[in-house]
Structures are given as C-alpha cells and as structure tokens.
C-alpha cells in the first residue's frame, strides 16, 4: 500500500498532535502514526486496576502554553484549577503555597516568598516568549536569528542592572543555596526543592535547578490545574482538534524506520512493512530514538551522531498509582486539602539525600513524592466511594544496578510505603491495588529512550540553542525534510505543546519559501 501525504508525524504525543493540527490547519494533508493503541503518547489516562484510572505519566497541567490553546481554540475541561501545593508535615502544621501566598510559615518567610515568586515570575516571563519560537542560531548571519538574539539581550538589559545581574547570577545556580539564603521553614524549602527537581536527574544542590524552576513557572506562572478525566482528556481534545482540521490518525502503527533517498526523507515504513510516503517527516519521538533507531547512525554524520548519543536522558522519576477503597487519613487535612497538590519533601536536605543513591544506580530509600488524589474532584476515575492516588516518586534511576529486577522493585515499593505511612498511617488498609512504573517501564510502554519524561534532561547544556544538540536546535535535522517536534527539541518537556507548535511554524515557513 502506498499513500502520499504532505507531512507524516511519527507519534501522537501531545506535541505531535499540536504540530499535526497546526500543519493541517495550514492546508497540509497530514498523517499521524502512533505505536500504541490510543493517542497521547505518555499523556494518556489508563485503567490500572478494575474501575480505577489515572494519568499514566504527568498528572498535573501547568505548562500548557496559552499560545497553543489560542492557536487551536482549545477549551479544556478542568476538574480543578489554581491548585495549592501542600507540603506535608508529620504533625498538622502543613505548609501550603499558591501563587505568591504561603501559609504555615513565619512572617519573614511569607514576605520573602512574595519577593521570591515575584522575581521568579519576572524571570520566567523573560524566558517565556523565547520558549514559544525556534531558538536563534549562534554564529550565523541570518538577520532573524541575530534580531532574536539582540532582543534577548535587550530584554535582559531592560530589567535594569540589579535584576539583570540577579538573573545572570541565578540562571546557572542551584535552588538549594537560593532557598537557604531566603527561607527558614524546612517544609517550604523542601517543597520548592522538589518543584525544581521534579522529573529530572538533579538534586536541589545540582547546578541548573533554578533554570528548571523557571521553566516550570514559564507556562502559567506556576498555576496548576487538573484536567477532567486525566491527562488523556487533554490528548483527546488535541486529537479531536487535529482530526477536525483534517489530520488522519492511525493508532497501532509503529514506525520502524524513516525512509531516505539521497539524504532526504521520503516517508516511513511501519513494523508490518506498510510504507507511507511524504517529503516531510516530523518525529515526535525523542531525538535518540529518531536519529539512532528510526533514521540510523549511518545516515547522518559522525559528530552529530556522537552528540545525539550523548544527550543525557536517563529518567529518574517513577509513577505510582494506588487504587483506594477510601481516602487515607492525613492529620490536619480538610476535605478540600485532598484535592490539592501534595508533596512529601520535609526539607531541602531530605530531597538532596533522596537524590544521592540515584547517582550510584540505586533508588531512594526515602523517596520524595508529588501526590494527587484526582478522584476527589473527578469521579470518572474511580468507582463510587473509591479513590485514586497518583504520585510521581523520586528517585528511581533508569540505570538501576539490578536492572530493576523483582527485588529492586519490591524494595522501592516498600520504601514508598514506609514513607507514605509516616503521613498516612492507614494507607495499607486503604490500598486495594497498586502499580509502580519505573523509567524502564515508561520506556517500554511509551517508547521514550531512558524513560525520561522530558525527552532529555533540561539543563543549560541541553537548553535553547543546544537542544537537542548544538547546530540542530531549529527542529530541522540534518536530513532534508526531517524535523523533530517532541520535548527533546526546544523548549523541552512538560505538557506544554510549545515544541509541537514551534516545529509546525518552522515547517510551514520553510514550505512557503
């Protein structure tokens, strides 16, 4: 069977869907090929126990770029929005923050938190416009690139000398030192530390963790919401939008390789041998999978291959799903509190210590967690009376010493439960069943190299001009007609849609020339 399209998108992850929808809206005939049986990539809702469903990977929405929503006329249904973050204390003095307000800390911390969030918001706003366009090339004479670079410099300078210095001081720094200088409350410091390192192979003392924090803030100023029906509903909305624009989406269609002729893409071949032709192939898969597996090292240059091969993308976050017969008891919690974002990160050193073993191929004996009970505000996820706990648990290194054998999994499960029990003493009796997805499971299920949620660590050496690698940050790969549109390209991970949107813009501009 031979079919010809204007563009083929490999992978129906959220970025692939955004990209395909925008291409189709511009009049292109687009085909999206998804390996799994439903669209969304890792942004799906799936049943993990009979009657109980949860978002398979990311479970909270805070980075979806407003430009994406606007371009696609998205109208997402949210089960709750503007959620607070509650950092659990072993007693009842939990710390809770939302926007620039924090409760459960002293006056000085409250005042400092206001200043801190104000400054971080300002810096995040500075970055934001640059996340929503292709990064400029360095060392080029291209006028548009030079203009963008000049604008970046100008925007920095415009903040004033003090703020610019502060930005330059902070951008490569670690969050630990900044928090330690400003705050007294261990819970507040623990919570903000975890905010900075979520989904990364970084501890709060690792350089770059201010950047990751800013990146998190650059979506909607850190505003957190929970999509109704789990993350799958976001993907569903995006795929509805794509299909309405004329995109053809085929699930259960795993691409085996990108077909090439004389250094240019000509289409793709599926595992079952089906061939689809198109002079534009856009990959929502991560850069390593795209270039080393789908294209093949032999078809690209040596140094480029080397750079791609060296992208740091070993996942460190595990996903935990628990089916509950009732909500576990948390001391001092009101009913509404269960509907918020809940963190277990008692202090900044605890978070750092949780990270330490990950460096040596072991999981944390005392993990940190981001917990939600999505069923509190969304009864579609659990049978009546029952509840779902969905948690991101760190650290669970992809390269585990034991390769995540049964014993290692059980040890990690036990560690998670022993931590949970300190805050939810009745968690055992509430648990009906549980599922733990390590980065290895995420890799197998969602075809993400290293099981890394962000398709590559978000650090300065893999950011902006050098994401995924130096010289190829503008979505176009060194194969004519081949583009990346996933989180591995600029700006990066999270349910943001920015990579997909930026890629579509680059592809369309190229086509108009």
């Amino acid at each position: 069977m031979i079919d010809k399209y204007d563009a083929i998108v490999i992978g129906a992850g959220h970025n692939g869907l955004v990209c395909s929808a925008l291409l189709a809206k511009a009049g292109k005939k687009v085909l999206v090929l998804e390996a799994n049986n439903q669209v969304g990539g890792a942004a799906i809702t799936r049943e993990f126990a009979e009657g109980y469903s949860a978002s398979a990977c990311a479970h909270l929405l805070y980075q979806l770029q407003p430009q994406v929503e606007k371009d696609l006329n998205l109208n997402l249904k949210l089960a709750s929005k503007n959620m607070s973050t509650i950092v659990l204390s072993k007693g009842i003095e939990h710390v809770s923050y939302c926007g620039s307000k924090v409760t459960g800390v002293n006056d000085s911390d409250q005042k400092n938190f206001k200043e801190f969030t104000k400054r971080m918001t300002k810096f995040a706003n500075l970055l934001k416009p640059y996340l929503n366009k292709a990064p400029p090339r360095l060392g080029t004479k291209n006028k548009k690139d030079l203009f963008t670079l000049a604008m970046l410099g100008f925007d920095l300078r415009r903040m004033g000398q003090v703020e610019m210095r502060e930005f330059l001081r902070l951008i490569g720094m670690n969050i630990y030192d900044e928090l330690d200088e400003r705050f007294e409350s261990p819970l507040l410091k623990g919570g903000l530390s975890l905010d900075s390192v979520l989904g990364t192979h970084l501890g709060p003392r690792s350089p770059n963790t201010i950047l990751t924090y800013l990146y998190r803030m650059a979506g909607k100023h850190g505003e957190i919401s929970l999509p109704e029906g789990g993350m799958g509903s976001v993907s569903k909305a995006l795929s509805d939008c794509a299909e309405a624009a004329g995109v053809e989406i085929k699930t259960n269609s795993q691409v085996k390789k990108v077909l090439l002729a004389k250094g240019a893409a000509t289409g793709v071949e599926l595992n079952d041998g089906t061939v689809y032709n198109s002079e534009i192939v856009v990959s929502n898969a991560d850069p390593k999978k795209t270039m080393l597996e789908l294209v093949g090292a032999r078809n690209v240059e040596t140094r480029f291959t080397h750079r791609i091969d060296n992208i740091r993308m070993k996942g460190n976050a595990a996903k935990l799903h628990i089916a509950l017969n009732k909500l576990p008891t948390i001391k001092g919690f009101s009913d509404a509190d269960y509907g918020q974002r809940i963190l277990i990160a008692p202090d900044e050193n605890y978070v750092e210590k949780a990270f330490n073993p990950a460096k040596y191929g072991k999981s944390s004996p005392q993990p940190v967690m981001e917990i939600t009970f999505p069923s509190v505000n969304d009864d579609s996820l659990a049978p009546s009376g029952g509840h779902v706990m969905s948690a991101i648990v760190q650290y669970a290194p992809y390269k585990h010493k034991s390769d995540w054998n049964e014993e290692a999994r059980n040890n990690f499960k036990n560690a998670i439960y022993s931590v949970l029990k300190q805050y939810m003493p009745d968690i055992d009796s509430c648990t009906l069943s549980m599922e733990l997805l390590t980065p290895v499971d995420l890799e197998n299920e969602f075809h993400i190299t290293g099981g890394h949620w962000h398709h590559g660590e978000l650090t300065l050496d893999q950011f902006m001009f050098v994401r995924p690698v130096a010289g190829s940050a503008q979505y176009q790969m060194p194969i004519d007609g081949l583009y990346l549109c996933g989180a591995g390209s600029h700006p990066g991970g999270g349910i943001s849609g920015a990579s997909g949107r930026n890629a579509a813009q680059v592809i369309l501009k190229k086509g108009n020339k």
Partner: protein, 398 residues
Amino acid sequence: MTPVKINTGRLRTPFYPRLAELDFLNTWHNWAGYTSAEALYCEDMEYFAIRNSTGVFDITPMTKYRITGPDALDYLNRLVTRDMRKIKPGRVAYAIWCDDQGQVIDDGTIFHLREGEYRLCSQERHFAWLTTAAIGFDVSIKEETAEVAALAVQGPTSYSVLKNMAIDGLDTLKPFGLIHHQIFGTELMISRTGFTGDLGYELWIDPDKAIDLWDALFEAGKLHGIKAIGTHALGLARKEAGYLAPFEDFLPAEATVRTGRTRSPLEIGMEWLVDFNKDNFNGRRALLKEKAEGSKWRLVRLDIEGNKTADHSYIYSQGKNNSEEIGFITSAAWSPICKQNIALGTVKAPYGKPGDNVWVEVYYQREMHWNKVMAKATVVDKPFWFPPRRGATPPAPF
C-alpha cells in the same frame, strides 16, 4: 611500594636491532611514538636503492586498526568517501575520510584481509575518531599497531627478491592486491602497495618473527642490491610519485585550530575518491554543497623551471612584480630520476588547472647571501614518476 619501571622513551620496532646494526649516521626521529631512522648511511644511496634495486623501509609505526564485525563494511562505507563495496577480499583501497564538514581527517589504506575483516592503516592515530564513528554500528575496532610488524620492500628488483623467498602467488598479484603466505610457522601477508610510486610490496608479520623475516629477506636480496632505507629517501620518492603527506601537503582537520586551514578532498585532488552515488558517507552533505558552490583551493603538482628547489615558496599568477599571490608550495625537491624540479603546492581556485602556467618565487642562498628567482612552473596532472613496471603483472624478473 616498589617503583614500577615504565619505558617512557621512544618505542623501538621489532626490526630495530637490524636497523641499528646498519645505522652509520645516527639520525632518528619520532614517528607515532616509535623511533624511526631518517637515513642510515647515505640518503642519496638509499633513494637510488628504491629506484634502481630494492629499498627496505620499516613501516611498523604505521598505525593499524583491525575492523571486524557484522557491520564492518557498512561502517567503513560511512567512514570513507569511496565505495568500499567494490573492494573485494584480497584487495586494498587507498581511502580518505572526512569530518562532518567534509574536511579531510586523513588518508590511509584499507586492507580487505578476508571476508568482512579489514585493516585500516594510516600515518596518524585515529582511535578516538574511529570509535566515535562506530556509534550505531555492530563493529569492533582494535588498535593493532604493535601487534603487526611491517616492512615496505620497494624497487625494480623487489619482485625477484620475494621470488627468491619462494612466495607463491606473486606472479598474479596485481597492484592493490594482497596474499597470505605461510612462513616461520606463522602467516605473512604480502600486499602490492607502497609509498614510492614504484614496483613494490609491503610485508606484514607477527612481531616475534620480524627478525626472521628481515634476515630471510636480506639473504634473498643480497644479489639484488637490497638496502635498508630511512624516511628521507622515502620522502623524496613519494614526492616523485605525487603522493600527499599529512602535515605537509594538507593538515588533518582534527589538528587545525584556525578556520580555513582544513581541506576538503575536492581541494586536494581527491575527487576521484569521492563517490556521491553510494549511500551516506561522513561529510557527504557538506561536499555536495561544496561541489555545487565551488571549492576554495586546489592542490597542484608543479614542474618548475631551473634547478633551485622551491621549498615553501609563494606561488604567483604572473611573473611580473605586481602579480597576484595565489598560493604556496607544500613540498618540493629536485627529482634525480625525472631530472625535474618538482613540487606540490596549494593555489586558490580556479587557478592551477592542468597545463596552466604559474610563477614560483624561489629564494636560495649562495655563500650567506640570499638570491631570488621568479621561476615559471607548469601544472601537471600526472605523477612525475609512474614507471610501467609499477603496474606490470607479473613484473619483470632481474
């Protein structure tokens, strides 16, 4: 703790004891970590051994890599610019490899020893590059420089010398062919290759049998004028043959710092080695672009008037005072066999087409005083020295 004694000086090849016996001049230099004789007793006599009888040169320091594995052929085909699928077992390919920008990293020879088993030889070391290039290939790359001793046996009587050693298969061994021969309880590989542009062979053997091989070779060649030679004699022979030397006629791309100091294969006269019709090879995209847009440089072989050697001279478009400076000489010599003043040089394209005339500014010293002459030179497209015996199969006996 007892101190460990580590030999940090230059390495000695397995042939060193024999070379040392023959050495009269005591002039040695460093070649890839090994000590290598510049000349042993008389540079001129050694040179004439290559052209008139047989010169034996120790090429053990030549860097050698064994490349094997299911993807060996695909790997090499991506590495080098020529089509390696055409190089059958028992054949040798002269090849060039480039970086991502299509700039030459080095040249070398690839021996297809047996089906799927290759040896890559080059003057410089390239393990890092070869390993990097192996990402995504099921291939093994092993540095075997010290595990193979090798001699170049070059000159008109070399065929007869090897015949005296009762080596089978020499009669049908064509240039760039290789054969295996059992001797001293081990395997000797004989390839009809060399760096002299003359009839010649290269012998490759287990280092433990190196001395046995040397002795047998010199015994077999004693009536055929066999002589050990040094680098200088070989250097002159290679210029006559028009062969390039890295660091002299081009810089390996990885060794340059300044932009614009690298060269593409198209700029050093190696376009014939670049096969745009095969699948992707490293540098292909960049080279296609260069081919479309035009190259900046051209490598030229020059036949220069007069007898003053044009070492490091500037090349001009005209003989007049105000003419444009268009390039420079990279290696030059008076060729005793051709009776020609020869040189290799680099000029800006589009200067230097075969048959063109250029002018070379030659400085020379006479009793301390410097003199200058503007010598007219002709660009030639053939090697200066290319005797029929180089290609004759079987070669004529002596």
